[in-house]
Amino acid sequence: MSKNNSMSKALVRRETIAGYAFMLPSLIFFLGFVIYPMVQCVFTSFFDATMNREDIFIGLANYKELFQDKVFLGALKNTVIIVVVSVPVTCIFSLWVSSVIYDLAGPACSAFRCIFYLPVVTGSVAVAVVWKWMFNNYYGIFNYIGTNTGLIEKNINWLGDEKFALGCIILILLTTSVGQPIVLYVSALNNVDQSLVEAAEVDGATKFQCFWKIKWSQIMPTTLYILVITTINSFQCFALIQLLTSGGPNHSTDTIMYYIYYNAFKLYRYGYGNAMGVVLAIIIALLSAVQFKMAESK
């Protein structure tokens, strides 16, 4: 008995060692490229750090400055607007598309999935160039259609007018954000237990009741994942801003990520940029926690 027990322990130990050995390469990457930068980011945020000069410890001064910096507060507001608009719209739109296409015949469903996923795999530079052309003030397709159909009286400077610029960014962000949720929802909807749906239908449940009472609860883990991922992606909106508006006009499309880039890479204010990064991480962590809690309570 004791011999068997010691053999079993040896086996467990060997398997554990093998498991850790397999994890080791990823762990090294994780520690080196995620944990270490995170610690470094928090550490540097307490310093006045710039290029080719010894860092100067300034305590919480960077954080204090952040909340007196009008551009940062504006960027925070814009980021929140992007998240508040983009996350629900992305989730609702992708859920609607998925529920329409998930039970289509194989090739049709695949075709739709490809179409919606295409902007995700297309490089952000290519996406930005195409949208920039469509939004062009002088010969863009939106102005062309708008003026020819009488929807607008004269050309609108979509990306050059602070009334429209942020909306345009959100629209582009939506097209690049819905692909992954659609694929995930299609997969989740296909995994819903059909026997429950059929039983409910036999009992006289309407389509909406079937969806709300049966499918919705079964795809909740997917919804939670999509909410968290979309929230994080929306908070990290950067490439579109850099490529299309540089935060303008009049800071109307500044986001926290872009402002971090501007401070760190253009002004070499590494400490200040890191302080913004910490604040952004805290906000994302808090929101994700709230989303997890809400999903758990459901």
């Binding site: 093998a18 050995a21 397999f22 390469p25 090294i28 990457f29 290029m51 080719n52 000069r53 939004f135 062009n136 003030n137 002088y138 010969y139 400077n157 979509w158 990306l159 050059g160 007018d161 602070e162 508006t245 540089s246 303008g248 006009p249 009049n250 800071h251 501007y262 890479f265 253009k266 002004l267 070499y268």
Partner: protein
């Protein structure tokens, strides 16, 4: 079981190997960069001294200064004319290696969108290039001021100082007199008009085609004539980013004789009455849009495709690069000024050396600069590769080239090179933000005051 173990071992090997492939710098990564000139074969190396002597004789080269100790150096270059083209740069480096076969030069080509980020990342990673080719605003006012560059005082001999134009010399040294750049070429940025439209609108009468100049009053009349002719988009004060901002600065400064900084380059002066008047004039003109959706590059494209009748972001390189895209006669013009004598914004490009702590590489980099910028025969080729003009009198190096001759008339109008003022990076951003404010209706005086406050605060840090 054995099979499983073998499989596990193989998988582990694959993972470790892939980690190694992603890992640190090795000789392989050097090879992946654009190596312009391969290291000479052993036979070539053996023949080097004789070959060097013979080439030096044939090219009437000056005696090279500094050591010719073997070294591998890296040159990162922004797209300054054909210095951004690997075929051209390969040829230039081949000339260099014919004289200095033991110095291997590896070239990395940057662009103006990401180039600064690439260099800054390299600096932070202690991987800065040995040599970099750009202008004083980066080499002197930015990296030089941060103590990252080598003092090039020994290249600035009395001979060099007597040959290189004073305005260029002043731009290549810091406020405390340290030379961080050795210049190669320069140009004066201009604007351009669509001559066909101007002719059709009978607006050519308002400009002097021969000298390429016009007065502010005539500029107003010309723009109005073109607008009345039906070209509603005559020009744009582009301001979506810093690309091509020298055009908007030169336009605004020239209209009523305003300045961007004081003569000592210590303070921003864009809030002067002259600049305010210029901005108010532009804002009031039919056909001139303050456009926050385009930057200089977009404006050039829209001028070339006929959307605009004039471009404020122009120079000879733009015309050369867009020859195939332009279906009309593009006429280069100086920026309008009250007296018709403009002060054009200049571009000066040359070499700087990052202090990477290796004296052999620094010496090799200086040898490279000396060859490219001072060798009597090579300097002409080096300058011609930039599509611009030399920073010293080399005679008419573009004899017979009609386009270069046409643009050379603007070099004499080159004004103060103020881009070496402190806080330049922040001021550039504040500039286009200020233009956006003016475009969206903010009071001009308020907007320029905010710009100057931001810029001067940055300059004082």
């Amino acid at each position: 079981m054995k099979k499983r173990k073998l499989m596990a071992l193989a998988l582990s090997c694959v993972m470790v190997c892939s980690m190694t492939a992603c890992g640190g710098k090795d000789t392989g990564s050097d090879q992946s960069a654009s190596t312009s000139t391969p290291a000479p074969a052993p036979a070539e190396k053996e023949e080097a001294p004789a070959e060097k002597a013979s080439t030096t004789e044939n090219t009437d080269s000056q005696t090279p200064t500094g050591s010719t100790q073997a070294a591998d150096i890296t040159l990162w270059t922004y797209p300054i004319g054909s210095w951004g083209d690997s075929a051209t740069v390969d040829g230039l480096i081949a000339n260099f290696n014919a004289v200095y076969p033991d110095i291997k030069v590896t070239v990395e080509y940057l662009d103006y969108t990401n180039g600064d980020d690439q260099i800054n990342t390299a600096i932070e990673g202690k991987q800065a290039p040995d040599l970099v080719m750009e202008g004083p605003e980066r080499l002197v006012a930015n990296w030089g001021a941060k103590g990252l560059m080598v003092d090039l005082g020994d290249l600035w001999t009395d001979d060099a100082k007597s040959l290189i134009y004073d305005s260029v010399q002043n731009a290549c040294k810091s406020n405390d007199g340290v030379f961080y750049e050795y210049p190669l070429c320069m140009t004066a940025h201009t604007m351009a008009i669509n001559r066909d439209i101007f002719e059709a609108a009978d607006a050519l009468q308002y400009l002097d085609e021969e000298t390429g100049t016009w007065t502010t009053e005539n500029f107003q009349k010309a723009v109005q004539a073109v607008y009345d002719y039906g070209q509603t988009n005559v020009g744009a004060v582009y301001c979506s980013g810093q690309g091509g901002d020298q055009g908007t600065r030169a336009l605004i400064n020239n209209l009523y004789g305003g300045t961007f900084t004081n003569p000592e380059h210590t303070e921003y002066t864009a809030n002067s009455a002259e600049n305010i008047k210029a901005l108010e004039l532009l804002k009031s003109m039919d056909g001139i849009n303050f456009d926050a959706s385009i930057a200089g590059g977009d404006e050039i494209n829209m001028f070339c495709n006929g959307t605009f009748a004039m471009a404020f972001c122009w120079n000879v390189s733009q015309e050369k690069n867009n020859l195939e895209n332009i279906s009309f006669d593009a006429l280069p013009m100086a920026f309008p000024s009250e007296d018709g004598i403009p002060q054009l914004c200049g571009g000066i490009w040359g070499f700087g050396i990052f202090d990477n702590g290796d004296p052999a590489k620094i010496e090799a980099a200086k040898t490279f600069i000396d060859f490219m910028a001072n060798d009597e025969k090579q300097v002409v080729e080096s300058v011609k590769a930039s599509n611009y003009w030399p920073v010293k009198d080399l005679g008419n190096i573009y004899d017979g080239d009609a386009l270069m001759t046409e643009y050379s008339k603007f070099v004499e109008y080159m004004g103060d090179y103020y881009q070496v003022v402190g806080g330049w990076a922040e001021a550039r951003t504040a500039w286009w933000n200020m233009l956006q404010q003016v475009g969206s209706g903010t009071d001009v005086a308020t907007a320029v005051e905010e710009f100057v406050t931001t810029a001067n605060t940055a300059a004082a840090q």
